[in-house]
Subunit: 371 residues, 5 copies
């Protein structure tokens, strides 16, 4: 796994770019549309939508780039699995044609294009549909993308915003006949993609584990002002991860519980395993949120204790000087009849009294455990 | 979507008018009535109740204004969908006649008129019944209205307080044959109205998202006293939204789970989609409540830190002067035998001592990290 | 609805008399009795138990006062509904005879007499049994009473502590043939009584809504010391309401879910409506408890801010004087060689310095935002 | 019910002896034993295990003390109920023999002997098994004991640590033919014992209710330092009660839900009543825990307010003197040219200024509401 | 049970070594592997994997060390139970061969090797699979190890990291024919191992009970600075225990609910007993977490009260001196016309005034209860 390059200290905790955390509020244009209306609300990341098809079974493998939806008719075949990947979501007309070709419900297409869609798994008559976010670490930042898939009898259509994705390892496994993918159907392929997505979430989540360790070390040294800001930023990001991974877990639970004949019986141990991973993921996010909260409490306690210590020491310091200043005030008075002023050793005796009173008070405070 | 005009800064956060938040307490007159008694407890918003009927199927479309309940007999037809909209709830007698015409249970009519009714979905033998609040943004304020609908085999009766509503886009879609409404039954029409209601809730909720962003920016600058008042107002309003949207979600869940033959099988993906939207809505409300709470905590932390900083700096300031004042007190004493007073350079040496003590203390406090 | 007469300000919040809140602890005498033993643990509110019977069906109506349980044999009739109301619970022997006449299980009678009994709904072979508290507003106080009912095929027996109750409106409706009661069975009558009980709870609960509004206004003015005591009292009373209404809601849920043939199918929409009301009631109690908590937090915040403001201003005040006192101390010293003392304009210059230092510090504190 | 004798004030709140709260940690010797191994981990409270048998049916009654397990063969009879009570758990061999005689699973015997066993109800093929703690008030302290029972077709075996128990009233009822016990089977007897156990828990719990009232009165007067210690002790004891009564409620729920033919249908209303009582018990414990927490909060608030009042008054006191001391310092300066010093009425004018400044400040603080 | 040797005071609370708490973050290398890929992510604790087989039935017993997987074919027999224990997880190839021999799904083997695997119980067609952590006390530290078992018709394969384990007592029971193991199948053996694992968790958990008692005693004496650090460490360790034992309880629940024919009916009371123990375990962990939190609150309260006491006493001390210093200042003034200065007894009268004022204030503060 590639290591993140060192960033500047504040940026270090912005692993999830700010625009991702804010994007939830950008989808207003979609209101007042008819249900099932297709509309892409995100930014356009690539000029032309790129369609790639991988067609395979135990014996053959083919990877082609499609120019037109019409080309799909030639590649479709009952005894092979077709994985059509659509990168770029802005060409709404093209996506509608794909939907018609595979007989996909408009509501599914709408959800695939809607960037503020909650992750979910849904079963239709002839296919099941999964939509979620996928994250991945790209050099110095975390990339983040909408992902959805429609999985039917012997085909899978996936939609994503960009032509970079998390799935190169899966493509490699299909091509080089590694693992079981070539011998299984589209349901296993769907599992494989979700498994990779969950793995990437785990990698990103672990970054927070590392950083929490760093922050704990820093807290034991001398935390700076920025400490609290970084903890707050981390809280927002972990919150975002929680909001994203919890419904992902729900959707995997639905995938597991489904009785659809599209899922072969031999795939089910793998789905249980996937649920296991995604449970591990959500538990880690919860764990890091708890640790973040503990760190915050610990920091507040520490700051509070520090202030109390300052106040205590300084108050005692003032208190020691109060009777001394009073004594000096006494001998500054101008009474005519003031015998002490005329004693020869009055001044050294005065200093003796000062020192006695001060040491007596300090001794008393020490014995009371106040110093 | 029309932008809200800028209001004065405090008002900006009163998006939900105060009388809405308070209205829960205005329904005392209803106590001690028999169950099923019809009584309208709200203010009368229009002179005369306005009844509008839209009658359509795949082939025909008609929109008429009715003067009398008796006119209903002529427009009812087995192969068309009749949508009767009743704007204005104060003419109890008229509403009773409508109820008799469509064979609606008195309890449903009672709920339709009761402005403090919780949102709910209920199934009767021949119809299902939904009651909820609907909100919409009207220029500079949020309008808010009771809405209920009775949906039967091929008719729908809707009741609302006012003749303005959220449904013009739906009427347009029916008239202009856009979308699927013309080809479907009353169940789909019911879905379409609820979908529009949820969309308007989302728009109103998003206003809070925008304002939370503004408040967060203000907090990072220099928050004023009114800041906390605006946060408190927002809390009340979000609380009201939560109390309104949670039972709305429950009612949509009941709509989804219902086995009534009034709901066609092909409508069910749309109901799932509606549940999806309303879940998104309640999650947003929860999210904004959490963000409001975080902002409140953040503000309190900030104010607390500020006070602590002031106290710390000022305490240290006092402490530095305490020994200096004591020293000045010493040389104000009037002992006869006081050798230091007579040294030639006593006064400049005194100043040297003052400066040394003060710098020493400041240096010590700096090294301890107290300044 | 009759308005409560103005009471003295503290009493205003004692809407639930103290002895009600405390009564939970008065039932020790009941321990160590056999299960099913009849024993009345409350105070005796009337000399003689009063038995009133209302016998009705669609055609006839009769209201008689019974002297003896034996009289019951004459009034019982298969085609009429008999409502026997027993006011006063201390004549245990009489109640046992009634139980024998109607074949009521001893455990039900025991629960009817036990004033610390939790509200519940239970189904026996030949009847169902409901026990709860009923409250009502009586001029300047809230009356509170144990209520239980045994509902069989065509009879209902109700037990209450006192001969005043909440049910005059129901008796009126039976007598004057208003509403559906005369045409329905004992199950509908049971619903009607519970509906009235819930309505009275709502009225009492609304009193707290009004008072919370008053308290909020007072808090925005200048809250006095008694404010916090009244909030605490209110908390206890709302707690009592919650403890009483929650199991009442549970019992209504059981009433709804019951499959007993004693409940006619046409009664079930009314039971759903009752559940709706009682849910509204418990939600209101929760809402007012939240508002009470918010008010308490708001008050504490306000008091805290006030103290902090005092401390801040006063600390700054002290700090401004500290260097001034030091400067006065300097020129009170008695050094022989003290040139400044002999300058002609030393004293006005000293005042100039004092004013400069003081204004400088005040300016500095203002610019830092500390004043 | 016997009143607790007055104890010394601290002890008053140790109603549950400390060794009970700690006993949870005394069972280490049991680890590493085989499942089903019999081992008694408590202290030995009596020399010899005492076996008492009560044999009864509607016609006969006999109470005998057994010396030997072999004697059991003579007393067993199909048409009578045998209640064998075993007081003292340390004679493991004897208990194994009893287990063999009644065909009790070793795991049940193990649970009966294990003093750190959670309360539970379990169903085996030929019997059901209940284990719980029982408490009772004995003069000045609360006694506490492990109790378990094995209930079969026409026998019940009970195990307890000591020969004193809660069940004398039940024995009396059997002997004197009071109540239904003589006419019913072993299942009703099991109910009767559990009912008595729950009643004793209620009596003990009520002691806390009384003491909470006392503490509340004390708080309204002048609480002393020991107040907080007594509240903390009470919290631990209520916690212990909660840990003990919650699984007891669970076990009663299981008893209610069981379908075993060992429980007669006519016993089930009594089991529902028992569940009702135990629910009342757990709710009381929760209620007292809440009240304890409220008292703690109230006390903390009160102490905090007291400290704040002291700080406020004293700070203001200091602040009033600060300018006065400064003014005295001014006129203690030694400038040659200091005209005020030479005015004839300077000194009385000075006092006038002092008094004016002081009254002015006090007036200002009063008007600001700071005093 | 062996006692832990005394350690140094801080270490005493590190019963769970730090590397265990941190290990959750060490499994990054596993990402991006295919599902079902075998990879061991931990450290290698022993040179060569050690395979030990115990083969037994009611009549025979044999314990052999295997060199090769091929040897398994000879020892397998239908009427005996084979327990194959594999100590050391780094030889992935060997483990794959064992998996092939017993027909174990690759996903199970993967989970057995994955040290960050959540505890779980899973059912496959021909076997069930349990993975969890096991802990045990080894002289001065707590050892901690991954454990998993595959239990089939008449075999059990267990995997562990090290050749030391918790199971010597079980081996002894098999060898010496103690208890029921020799007469039962592999399901009972599986129960016996889990029972031992839970017992060891209980022993380790009890260490925290003892230490909480020690900490409570220390808090009642004079807690030192390290107190709070030890409480924080304990919180982390109890958190780790909770994270480990909760899914263990879940897995035991699944074991109990399973309908697989691999589990004999007579084993089920033992499984219930196991669930009972593991519930006791999780409740103890929760209890100690609550006690840890109570101790933390208690400590904070104590520290806070101490600081408040200091501040209160010292503030009052300052306040008593403030008017005294003012009075001394008065008589240090240099007014020409200052009659008091010239009275003969002015100085002793001054001291009288000082003493009067000081005693008056102290008396006042005492009466107000501020001292």
């Amino acid at each position: 796994m590639q290591k993140i390059n060192p960033l500047n200290p504040i940026e270090l905790f912005r692993v999830i770019p700010l625009e991702i955390l804010k994007r939830k509020k950008s989808s207003k244009a979609k209101f007042n549309l008819m249900p099932g209306s297709l509309m892409y609300t995100g930014e356009i990341k690539m000029d032309k939508v790129k369609m790639t098809a991988i067609i395979y079974n135990g014996d053959t493998f083919e990877e082609i780039t499609l120019e037109d939806v019409a080309d799909l008719k030639e590649v479709n075949s009952a005894d092979k699995v077709l994985w059509l990947n659509v990168a770029g979501l802005h060409d709404v007309e093209l996506i509608r044609e794909i939907g018609e070709h595979f007989d996909i419900h408009n509501l599914s297409l709408e959800d695939a294009l809607n960037l503020s869609q909650r992750p979910k798994w849904e079963e239709y008559d002839d296919y099941f549909f999964q939509v979620c976010k996928m994250v991945r670490q790209e050099k110095e930042k975390i990339a983040h993308e909408q992902f959805s898939m429609v999985v039917g009898k012997n085909f899978m259509v996936t939609f994503q915003e960009d032509d970079k994705d998390n799935f190169n390892s899966v493509r490699e496994r299909i091509k080089s006949y590694k693992g079981k993918i070539r011998l299984r159907g589209a349901d296993y392929l769907a599992f494989a993609l979700l498994d990779v997505i969950v793995d990437h979430y785990l990698i990103v989540t672990e970054l927070y584990g590392d950083r929490l360790d760093d922050l704990e070390d820093e807290l034991n040294d001398n935390p700076k002002q920025a400490f609290i800001d970084r903890l707050s930023t981390m809280k927002k990001e972990l919150n975002w991860l929680r909001r994203t991974t919890r419904p992902l877990k729900e959707s995997v639970i639905n995938f597991n519980k489904s009785q659809t004949p599209l899922i072969e019986k031999r795939t089910s141990p793998f789905l249980k395993d996937l649920l296991d991973h995604v449970t591990h993921l959500t538990e880690n996010v919860e764990l890091y949120m708890d640790e973040q909260k503990d760190l915050m409490d610990h920091y507040n306690n520490k700051m509070n204790n520090k202030l109390n210590d300052i106040l205590k020491v300084l108050t005692i310091f003032s208190v020691v000087f109060i009777p001394l200043t009073f004594m000096a005030g006494i001998y500054g008075m101008n009474f005519d009849n003031f015998p002490e002023l005329h004693y020869k050793y009055a001044y050294p005796i005065f200093w003796g009294a000062i020192i006695t009173v001060a040491s007596g008070m300090i001794y008393y405070f020490k014995r009371k455990g106040w110093l």
